[in-house]
């Protein structure tokens, strides 16, 4: 088994989960996972510290997620603007109504309203259970900043969830 296959088997789920929480879209998460592993394959020779491979991969995933999500957002906004007729809301099917009341959707919705930095910190610390050190390495910031920003991000998330409820 080659190195890239080994890395793929070990970290594919982590990358996919991160992308899914970040974008809340399966299609975008798949795009991000694919692009991330293509980048990893390209830059595999540059990897010097084998111990930090996890944070290295996640930092690539994070940068890729930011890029792809931003592009998709612009695309969506342009398409909405280009539509001639006002976008009438479709009648919700009973199954969708049930799904919307799934509780994870509430917090995922709130997470999506946060800024990219706050969202990334919450995903790393709360949803993927990365350590403060790992989160700091992924984001390229100090551990102290991670602690401070995490508390601020959680406060904002609580406010959003409280407002939605």
């Amino acid at each position: 088994m080659s190195k890239i296959e080994h890395l793929y088997d070990k970290y594919q789920r982590d990358v996919y989960h991160f992308a899914l929480y970040y974008t809340n879209s399966r299609e975008e998460a798949e795009d991000i996972t694919q692009e991330t592993f293509f980048k990893i394959l390209k830059q595999l020779d540059n990897l010097k510290n084998e111990e930090k491979v996890k944070t290295w991969i996640l930092s690539i995933a994070r940068n890729t997620a930011v890029d792809i999500h931003r592009k998709q957002k612009i695309k969506r906004l342009l398409l909405e603007k280009l539509k001639w007729q006002p976008n009438l809301k479709e009648v919700q099917k009973p199954l969708e109504i049930v799904e919307q009341h799934e509780q994870w959707r509430i917090i995922q919705g709130a997470l999506m309203t946060l800024k990219a930095h706050d969202r990334t910190i919450i995903i790393c610390r709360m949803l993927k259970d990365f350590t403060i050190q790992e989160t700091a390495e992924i984001l390229g910031i100090s551990e102290v900043k991670v602690r401070v920003d995490f508390h601020r991000a959680m406060t904002r998330l609580r406010k959003k969830v409280g407002r939605d409820n």
């Binding site: 996972t33 994870w104 917090i107 949803l127």
Partner: protein
């Protein structure tokens, strides 16, 4: 309240669509294996261009620092031995700085490092080419002649010449 948020986050952790599609996973794995074989066999255009450029730059550096085969022409050419020694020292220092700069750009791995390096190398080659051209196509310096000025001749030079002639005539007569 804190417990409530933690419960919500736990539910998000185990959201219903958390696992990636199996078909997608296996397809991506296959793509990676294919790509891996392609990348190991082919070399990029940047590599093809960079290697000869690097070699030529270093050959030039060696030539200049050791043999001084490509000398500076005309005004930059120095005459005395002391100045020649200074020129060689300056050349070595300059070339050392240049090679350090090239190595810095090349090994630092900037995002567009290769592009910067290639641009720099190309301009460097153009400079070397120009020097070689000057070496082989050596033209003699044309003797600079002062431009003819009619006003100068008529109004300034002629009266002065006349005065000088008159003085000379006077002196001759006196003798």
């Amino acid at each position: 309240m804190e417990q409530h948020y933690n419960d919500l986050l736990k539910k998000l952790k185990s959201r219903s669509d958390i696992d990636p599609n199996r078909e997608f996973s296996s397809e991506l794995r296959q793509k990676l294996i294919k790509r891996q074989h392609n990348t190991t066999n082919s070399s990029s255009l940047a590599t093809i261009l960079t290697i000869p450029v690097t070699l030529s730059v270093f050959v030039f550096l060696v030539m200049v620092t050791t043999g001084q085969s490509i000398g500076l022409k005309h005004a930059a050419q120095l005459i005395s031995d002391k100045e020649k020694y200074l020129e060689t020292t300056m050349c070595i220092v300059l070339m050392f700085c240049l090679s350090l700069f090239i190595s810095f750009i090349y090994f630092k791995g900037f995002t567009k490092g290769r592009l910067v390096y290639l641009t720099f190398s190309l301009s460097f080659i153009a400079w070397v080419g120009n020097l070689i051209y000057a070496e082989h196509d050596h033209k003699e310096d044309s003797i600079e002649q002062s431009g003819y000025n009619e006003t100068f001749d008529n109004e300034i030079v002629n009266p002065l010449m006349m005065k000088q002639d008159q003085q000379q005539d006077g002196e001759e007569e006196g003798q």
